[in-house]
Symmetry: D2
Subunit: 342 residues, 4 copies
């Protein structure tokens, strides 16, 4: 193994998933692991599922610890990545799983995150038009949010092909790991099991401008996005139901053909055979995105449903896929192409 | 107790929930219980949670068994209610939890159910404009579908007040009991736990025309409905996310005020205080409908989220509420006004 | 309604369940509601499932607030009940859902709880020999722990009849609400869904001496208890698998007959028909205890499995059942005798 | 890749898990896939999580289809393996995930399975004393049952070292996939979510004689086993709580030391650090076995809790681990050493 990676924020769910995938990656070795308040504790205690790393102890997150690696994965709270990245030098591949460098609009950033905009990095969603190319040889990658991954991949073919009007209505269900390990009452098992609830309703979720940015770029015009996320009683997974008004002339056949063509060469994003619908259980722990499309003629809308694992393709797998590209490795290296079911 | 009720289809989930509620109803006694293929078996075996009825044995579903009751609840497969109802005589209150008498349009019925249309009965959703009045003294009630209950109550105030354009996009998550006790592979616990999946996408779900019928009636114009149901990893509950385009002039204040006013006197349908959002866990086992509204100004859409228990308010509780009205009892008699949480 | 009840600790799971049951109790009205750190907040926010009480605001837990009620339910952290009870006067019925007054042995108390022993009150498990009588006219009730309820009711008939040697091995699974609303990482939904884990292994759980106390009393000799609790991915419910060595001469028939006889008149504790086994889903939200027994002849052991809802019969329902007795009301008043299933 | 494997019974849970693991195995290629009633259907429809195999169509299970492979994994209903194995020839490595060749006692076989005994093959639990050696160069492997895997690995060190008397009491919780894809009412999601229930109580479960066989072999004397399995609301995982009477002189230190020593060189079976307890979520999808031990001095019992994934280490992973040994490959090849959490 030539490539050596550090993971900053190794005690969280995103950091843990990066490590799970790195343990199965044949070309990248695991170097320094850091934590914030968990520095000094062992992974055996913090992430007991990572048995081969049980004896590793978290170092504090700082430039000294992270120096000397070929790749540094940042799984830090929003707003903390810029300072760390700056200290690392231009030659290091920095893969930021936080939001800091995803948005191009400083206005949007400040409105949704409330802090000064740190900048914009190449966007780690290779399947979006233009993104794969921008990732080759970059040394900075902004990993997309989990919802934007699921929604952008669901809608870009229809919008890029002009089959749909630029007004998306999206309702997505997410597993609880999307909310991280924060100790909040509504995330207790007693509260979430057997229950669903929405949050960030009415346009308030921070992933809304990121989705709009991605879709507007492929549509070539501003896309208005109504986005409602919901919390579902499962640890992982996003099921995104995405609808857009069908433009005149769109048929079930042209719709299907457009998606088949747009995704034909993608190793992870699959349009399912007719009659089969995505489920989050099917893609669990994998880098897969499962899609299905329908034309609702009575309602005049295209409906696309996508399923991803929010921690794998939605975070850590997407990060690794983009890192593979930047490092010149085959894009699928070390990434599970099959889900864990049932 | 003066009123005596029979339940046809007592071995299914709807029949079981009717019985659970009747056990707590002070004015209605439990008479004959019938089943199809389960006739001859005891409730102790079929519905072990109904401990006080453990020794009751199901009779076959036929006119003789059901005769001599004041109320007959039908929890039968679609298409079987008409024949049973006809045999019961006009003086008996027949409450049909099946779909047979819900739709006014024979064309819609035949398109979605594929059999001849049996007719239309007063619709058992008292909160909808005009419905409560029609239920008084009726001897036939068509209990609404679970999704139509959740969606119609979420959207009728906005549409009735002209705040919204008549184009609804609805995505709803349902617990698995909505699919009944049918032995299908995708309903196995191994398949549904930890997983979400859509079904009936693109307008194919049978509840779509029922929702459109209800909303069109209150809007006074045809309402187009894009409806996507999803199966969620929980036994009970519906969370319906309903969006409609806001008409010019609609403000967050006018929206909230409209809902507050429309629901002010409802005993079961509650607009939550600002900042709180419905969850299916909160209404579990109760006849409650919890609602919250938002105006997404950037997207120009009204978003209403409702939570109901699909078996209680969505089926058996709604049936009992309507039966109370028809029997001249206080509408809330015997109906849980608090959920079972956590 | 003549009887008026206050609930101290109304924002927790036990307090919420007491209130849910009181809302359905025809003879007890709801008076003052108090909280610790949640004083000043409304139940609409803290316990949104208790819709009829949404506007009630929690008062601080103190003697002034609790004075003037006929019954006071204490759902406080262990160790806080004694001071409150003392201030309430002898005429008030005080029902303590905490552990403070359960144990007779001060040594056990101090070993497992680490504070001075407050005393011993009549034990609120009416089905145990001698308990029902002691509850009549008492003004102090110690509500049993949830595990001791499930285990003591499972094993007392065999031990009382001398069918078993006094060495119990118990493994019990509990829903997460048994751990309360404490914000601990291992109680997050992401951690508990899809996962089981033991705790308090090796005799360390505080319910061990309480189980031993109950069983020793009925056996007339010290009963040794090996008790392992496990956390199960469900919000509510205890499934207790209890085994004891069969004494020579015990047969499957004598075992079954002993249980049938011991439980014949109990309104809530039911020996299931042969071939049916208890499940926690069946007793959800009810005051039921479902039991089944088997004689494992090859292993020489009696196996009894019991299912209860830890918050209902295991806490709040048990509290109300005992309070009914103390108040001279029919024992089953206001208590659900059917579970919420599925 | 030199080694080519066929999988008979590729549409079930065990077959699907074998394929998931083979997709990540660098030395074994996937050959013929067969099914019974599912022959002719594609894996894309039957096992949608196995995306790279979506186009593979199941052949019927027969000797012609399975011929010409180096390894044949049998994931067939009990009783069907013998005929298939016989037709395959002695040079083919046959790995049977069914029960047919696990038991040495024909009497036990006939009592628990009701058919003539087919024979006994080397037992695929390498960690048990003597087993690893017997697997080298064998061409027939009987893969253990999932419960016997979890229980035997939990108890063998204590029994082999003479720390415990030969009377085990075991209560184990299993995820629903252990029951397979059979369409039975009690396996519906609506029934299992939020609920726990026992089955096979009183010694009736077929894994009981297999556990006793394993433990008796290591103890050097007959071990009596009281075994109660329970069905838990999770798709995968076994948590086995195993207790045995401690022999005089056993101390917490000697117990811990015995386990540490017995498992020191095992790649997959880990004694956790003191204070940490196994959870099934931690080992999900991995070949790990997590163990923790305690000495309950008051009860005089050793308590060992183990966690495994019933489909991975409990079936398919164990099968592959043993196959690796038989094929002369490193034992851990292609087997996940980290769990999928959360």
């Amino acid at each position: 193994m030539v490539v050596r990676a550090a993971v900053a924020g190794a005690s969280g769910y995103a950091g843990g998933e990066i490590l799970r995938l790195l343990l199965g990656h044949p070309e990248i070795g695991i170097g320094a692991l850091t934590g914030g308040s968990n520095a000094g504790r062992s992974l055996g205690e913090l992430q007991p599922h990572l048995a081969p790393l049980a004896d590793r102890v978290l170092a504090p997150t700082n430039a000294e610890t992270l120096a000397g690696h070929d790749v540094v994965f940042l799984a830090l709270p929003h707003g903390e990545s810029a300072a760390v990245a700056e200290a690392l030098g231009d030659g290091v591949l920095v893969v930021d799983c936080g939001a800091d460098f995803r948005l191009r609009s400083a206005v949007d950033w400040e409105r949704f995150y409330g802090t000064p905009h740190a900048g914009t990095w190449p966007y780690g969603l290779p399947e979006l038009p233009g993104c794969r190319e921008a990732l080759r040889d970059t040394r900075r990658i902004a990993v997309p949010g989990c919802y934007p991954t699921a929604v952008s991949l669901a809608l870009f073919p229809a919008l890029a092909a002009g089959l749909a009007a630029p007004e998306a209505v999206v309702v997505a269900a997410s597993g609880t790991s999307g909310a991280g390990k924060a100790l909040k009452p509504h995330l207790l098992g007693s509260e979430v099991m057997g229950s669903m609830t929405p949050y960030g309703v009415g346009g308030g979720h921070r992933h809304t401008p990121e989705i709009a940015q991605n879709l507007s770029a492929v549509a070539g015009e501003p896309v208005i996005v109504s986005f409602t996320p919901t919390l579902a009683p499962m640890p992982r997974g996003i099921l995104a139901t995405c609808t857009v008004p069908a433009r005149p002339g769109t048929t079930a056949e042209s719709l299907r053909e457009t998606y088949a063509k747009a995704l034909a060469d993608e190793p992870f994003v699959h349009l399912l055979p007719e009659g089969l619908w995505p489920s989050t259980g099917t893609v669990l722990g994998s880098n897969l995105v499962h899609l299905q499309v329908a034309l609702d003629e009575a309602a005049g809308r295209i409906v696309v449903v996508s399923a991803v694992d929010n921690l794998t393709k939605g975070t850590a797998g997407g990060a690794l896929q983009s890192a593979n590209i930047a490092l010149g490795l085959p894009e699928t290296t070390g990434l599970p192409g099959a889900g864990l079911a049932p």
